[in-house]
């Protein structure tokens, strides 16, 4: 940082992760009975190329331009989500936009970036943190629209990412922690509602919390009522879930419930990772993967291949790289003087962190199976493009911060 010019930490992390991701994707295709996965790494390479081009383009856009463009980008992405909902294709979930059978991409991924942009703009207009939940409400609405549209696909994983982005942004903009926790409380209610005991305990805790932190009366009351409503609604929501969604949630709690169907993914993934041991079975040598016991080994469960073939050492290495990348982003966000740019980079960091934690956590059974991709590793063009663009934007901000520091210093 003492040195002048460009900070290359961010692109270095990104390039190493992309290279590692391509290697693992190649390995994921090496099965004893060849499948379509075998050649996917080549196609991913094309997407990486496109991603680099896209990153180079956004690198040229100034944050001011982005600030100005944010509403347009956001509107376009929402329109795309609507189109997807009506004309979307895909097995189980309608998440793809296709023209003449050719799949163009998943608008949900673009919508994540657009939402981050829109949030950054909206939250920095007032030049001070929201003082109560009413002031935070517009931000909530900005996220609620894509959240609902994505949930309707239904794509539970991406929906979770939108929530995480919202809370990340509210946190970074300086919302009071007690308020943040109150805003999160309905979600906790929703999750705990399947057990009357845990939900009851939560409501008691929440009541005490509201009394001690003393927010505005109306605010506290509304939060409390929403919590109660969530708890009651949860049962109805649960019954509206498709059986496979119910199974996913249940098998996260107990994989043995359904060892052949949903639990199969978790069990097989754990076996693959566990049998990798400390140093792993070696590049392309994973037996569980080779014999196709690993489900979706090129997308959702690609990290199981890392665990099986490179062992705990490999896990430490890759998680270290991700942590390094995200920390670099947070440092950029902390360094940059412009609030919009700072919000933008922190939003990107929240998005990537959520993807990493949910995806990796799923492979070891500490997170429910939600099917969200691992950045730079999982096969998928839209998300690879999104990640590259995100890195490009963050790098631009990083350069700006130096520029700013330069000019002011």
């Amino acid at each position: 940082m003492e040195q002048r010019g460009l900070d290359k930490t961010l692109p270095i992390f990104a390039v190493v992760l992309i290279a590692a991701g391509l290697g693992v994707l190649y390995s994921a295709g090496q099965t004893d009975v060849p499948t379509a996965v075998a050649d996917l790494w080549r196609r991913q390479l094309v997407w990486v190329g496109l991603g680099v081009v896209a990153a180079a383009i956004v690198f040229r856009l100034s944050p001011r331009l982005l600030d100005w463009l944010a509403p347009t980008v956001y509107t376009v992405s929402i329109l795309l989500l609507l189109v997807t909902l009506v004309f979307g294709v895909g097995a189980g979930t309608k998440s793809w936009i296709a023209i003449g059978g050719f799949r163009l991409g998943q608008p949900a991924e673009l919508a994540k970036l657009a939402t981050i942009l829109m949030l950054a703009r909206l939250l920095t207009v007032r030049r001070r943190p929201p003082r109560d939940i009413w002031e935070a409400m517009p931000a909530g609405l900005v996220v609620a629209v894509p959240f609902v549209l994505v949930s309707l696909q239904p794509d539970l994983g991406s929906a979770i990412v939108f929530i995480a982005i919202l809370f990340g942004a509210l946190f970074w903009v300086g919302l009071k922690l007690s308020l943040l926790l109150l805003l999160m409380s309905p979600l906790v209610s929703l999750m705990l509602a399947f057990s009357t005991w845990s939900w009851g305990a939560w409501i008691v805790f929440l009541t005490l919390f509201v009394i001690f932190t003393r927010p505005y009366l109306l605010e506290g009351l509304v939060i409390w009522l929403i919590n109660a409503a969530m708890g009651i609604m949860a049962l109805g929501l649960w019954q509206q879930l498709q059986p496979y969604q119910q199974n996913r949630l249940l098998s996260f709690l107990n994989p043995e419930i359904d060892p052949r169907a949903t639990g199969w993914h978790i069990i097989q993934s754990k076996i693959a990772i566990g049998s990798g041991g400390l140093i792993g079975k070696g590049f392309t040598e994973g037996t569980q993967k080779r014999l196709a016991f690993l489900p979706a080994q090129h997308t959702d469960f690609i990290y199981s291949v890392v665990g099986e073939e490179f062992g705990f050492i490999g896990v430490l290495g890759t998680l270290g790289l991700f942590a390094g990348l995200i920390w670099t982003l947070v440092r950029i966000a902390g360094r940059v003087a412009d609030p919009f740019s700072s919000m933008l980079v922190f939003g990107i960091a929240s998005m990537l962190l959520t993807h990493v934690v949910v995806n990796v956590g799923m492979t070891v059974g500490v997170m429910p199976i939600t099917g969200i991709p691992l950045p730079f590793f999982s096969y998928g063009g839209s998300f690879m493009l999104t990640c590259c663009v995100a890195i490009g934007l963050a790098w631009r901000v990083s350069r700006e911060s130096y520029g700013a520091a330069y000019s002011s210093g």
């Binding site: 099965t31 004893d32 009975v33 030049r127 001070r128 943190p129 946190f171 970074w172 903009v173 300086g174 052949r260 097989q268 754990k270 076996i271 693959a272 990772i273 566990g274 049998s275 990798g276 041991g277 400390l278 037996t287 569980q288 080779r290 014999l291 196709a292 016991f293 665990g307 062992g311 705990f312 896990v315 430490l316 998680l319 942590a323 995200i326 920390w327 947070v330 440092r331 902390g334 003087a337 609030p339 700072s342 962190l353 934690v357 990796v360 956590g361 070891v364 059974g365 500490v366």
Partner: protein, 616 residues
């Protein structure tokens, strides 16, 4: 811009850092738990995940005759099995296999049932598949998940129908047997002996299955075979050597009258070794190999002439005239008569007893004769009186001590227990305390009435007569059972006299037509009453009369007309004692001379008799 003041930002960064550390810490701990703490467990699980064990069926032991001719052997065959992964893919695989092999839906249902009871075992879909079926399956094996084709020993019976009842056959274990755990080391698809020696010595013959391991992918497709090192070689079952003389057995099957039902048993009276045991009609045990079509089984098991029924040990017939020797032995033992004793009433073709006339089979009558002559001519009138002299009680008690209430004890499954009343209480039970007359004594004295014996049991009785000790060993094909041997309790002289009388039967008596020039054969003809149709013909004989080496008993059902039972037996004896190349023409055929008298009424009133017969 106070809200983005460096202090606030630093505070938020610190908080964010702590959150990230906590989250990554949880993830790392989860990996640590799986990969470092659980490495060994998951390593094993991953191995088991991809390795499937497949049983290698052990070849069953050989069954040989006394000179080492193979009666049951193994030849290479192919079996089709499926390694099930889940019910849906199993059903799919079975349907695909069904299209190529013609599996019916019943069999598919049975296989699915077995899968549900033991889901981790490979399912044997078909044994003994033809080469065409195997090659068709091999072509489409990629599309059939879990398909395993392996060579498997297949049972073959080189002598087929000739020794079918002795050797038996094998069949796949049934679900009930599997559930009852009666059969040791069995699993689904195990072949177990179903009849004959295959069943009797099943455990000895079965051997120990081996195992091989194959690596499969998640769809259950075989990816590669593990090396020989991890293979557990199956152990063949023990060879069972029987006392059977397959040459003699073959000869019996050859000369047994075509299209007739009946059985022949040849035994060495000194040791109890069964030399031949033939039941007609027979069946082809090779039909059972690889599973029999239900229609064929239906036809075989419900055929009117019951080919699966072993008439030598399961069939029960009135012992008729051959049983007169038991009466004679009883009389000699009790001292109520000697060979020279004559009866009060000479035979005039019948005799009056009580208010009823009892006929002899020969209407011309035998006159005033001795016991020796009575045996020789099978005189019914003489034996009526001898029976009365012994008394019903004595007849029954001696019958029990000579073993007529018990199975012979031959080492074959399903031997019938003879019907023979142990005491007079039997008649009380059956007809009521006053419902029967001494007619039963007369009936019993000539081997009719409430007395049915199997051929093997009668052969055993004649072995007692043949042996100087008056004791017969338990008939056996492989091992003798630990049954107490029965004894006639006669002196050597008495036994010799009886044998002489039996010799005269063949030399000058009822079986004279069956004489064989160079052999001294003793024996007794008989005709068994058959309420269902024509009478059954008996002959039991042994030779040489001085020191018998073989006892042969035969029954031919419905042999009333054109019977050749006695010559059948003497030809078997001759084949055994003289050898296979003796001239067959020396044996003349003869009709049995002593057809049985009509049924003797044992009930006080003949109308009652008809009613009982009708309902019984």
């Amino acid at each position: 811009m106070t809200w983005f003041h460096p202090h606030d930002v630093a505070r938020r960064m610190e908080l964010g850092r702590l959150t990230a550390i906590a989250v990554f810490g949880v993830l790392l701990f989860a990996f640590f738990r799986l990969q470092v703490l659980g490495a060994e467990r998951f390593e094993t699980e991953s191995r088991e995940n991809r390795l499937r064990s497949l049983p290698l069926p052990a070849p069953r032991g050989l069954i040989m005759d006394r000179s080492g001719n193979v009666l049951a052997e193994n030849v290479p065959g192919y079996s089709i099995a499926v390694l099930p992964s889940d019910p849906d893919s199993l059903r799919g695989a079975l349907q695909q296999i069904a299209m190529l092999t013609g599996l019916d839906s019943l069999r598919i249902e049975a296989l699915l049932r077995r899968y549900r009871s033991s889901p981790h075992e490979p399912l044997v879909v078909r044994r003994d598949a033809s080469f065409e079926v195997i090659s068709a399956l091999e072509e489409s094996r990629v599309t059939i998940p879990g398909l395993v084709i392996q060579s498997e020993p297949k049972r073959r019976y080189p002598y087929g129908e000739i020794a079918a009842h002795v050797v038996g056959y094998v069949g796949e274990i049934t679900e009930e047997e599997l559930a009852s755990n009666r059969i040791a080391n069995a699993r689904g698809g195990t072949l177990v002996g179903r009849d004959g020696l295959e069943r009797q010595y099943d455990e000895r013959l079965r051997g120990e299955d081996g195992w091989r391991f194959i690596e499969v992918d998640a769809m259950g497709r075989t990816v590669r075979e593990m090396g020989d090192a991890s293979k557990l070689v199956p152990e063949q079952g023990d060879t069972v050597v029987t006392s059977l003389d397959i040459g003699l057995q073959q000869f019996v099957a050859e000369i047994f009258p075509e299209g007739r039902r009946g059985s022949v048993v040849a035994m060495d009276p000194r040791t109890g070794e069964v030399l031949a045991l033939y039941s007609a009609p027979s069946f082809d045990p090779d039909l059972f190999v690889g599973g029999m079509a239900p229609e064929l089984w239906q036809a075989l098991s419900q055929a009117e002439d019951q080919p699966l029924f072993n008439r030598a040990i399961e069939g029960r017939y009135p012992p008729a005239s051959p049983w007169k020797l038991a009466v004679a032995a009883s009389a000699l033992r009790r001292g109520v008569a000697t060979m020279e004793t004559r009866m009060e009433t000479p035979c005039s073709g019948g005799m009056l007893y009580g208010n009823r006339y009892f006929r002899c089979w020969d209407e011309r009558g035998h006159g005033d004769i001795t016991l020796r002559e009575a045996i020789q001519h099978s005189c019914d009138v003489y034996f009526y009186q001898l029976g009365l002299r012994i008394s019903l009680d004595g007849l029954l008690r001696d019958g029990v001590s000579m073993g007529f209430t018990e199975r012979s004890g031959i080492d074959l499954p399903d031997e019938s227990t003879p019907l023979f009343p142990a005491t007079t209480a039997y008649y009380d039970r059956r007809y009521g305390p006053r419902g029967w007359t001494s007619g039963v004594t007369l009936n019993l004295a000539i081997g009719q009435g409430e007395n049915t014996q199997s051929v093997i049991n009668m052969v055993k009785f004649y072995a007692m007569l043949a042996n100087n000790s008056g004791v017969a060993p338990v008939p056996r094909l492989v091992n003798a059972s630990a049954t107490e041997p029965h004894s006639l309790e006669l002196t050597t002289d008495q036994l010799e006299e009886l044998r002489d009388a039996l010799f005269l039967v063949v030399e000058r008596g009822t079986a004279v037509g069956a004489r064989v020039e160079e052999l001294q054969i003793a024996g007794k003809t008989g005709t068994a009453q058959n309420p269902q149709g024509p009478e059954h013909g008996w002959f039991i004989g042994f030779a040489p009369v001085e020191q018998p080496e073989i006892v042969v008993g035969a029954i031919v059902e419905f042999a009333e007309h054109g019977s050749n039972v006695a010559p059948l037996v003497t030809r078997v004896i001759r084949r055994h004692l003289v050898g296979p190349d003796s001239d067959r023409d020396q044996v003349r055929l003869v009709l049995p001379a002593d057809s049985a008298p009509g049924p003797v009424p044992i009930l006080p009133d003949s109308s009652q008799l008809r009613r009982t017969r009708g309902t019984g």
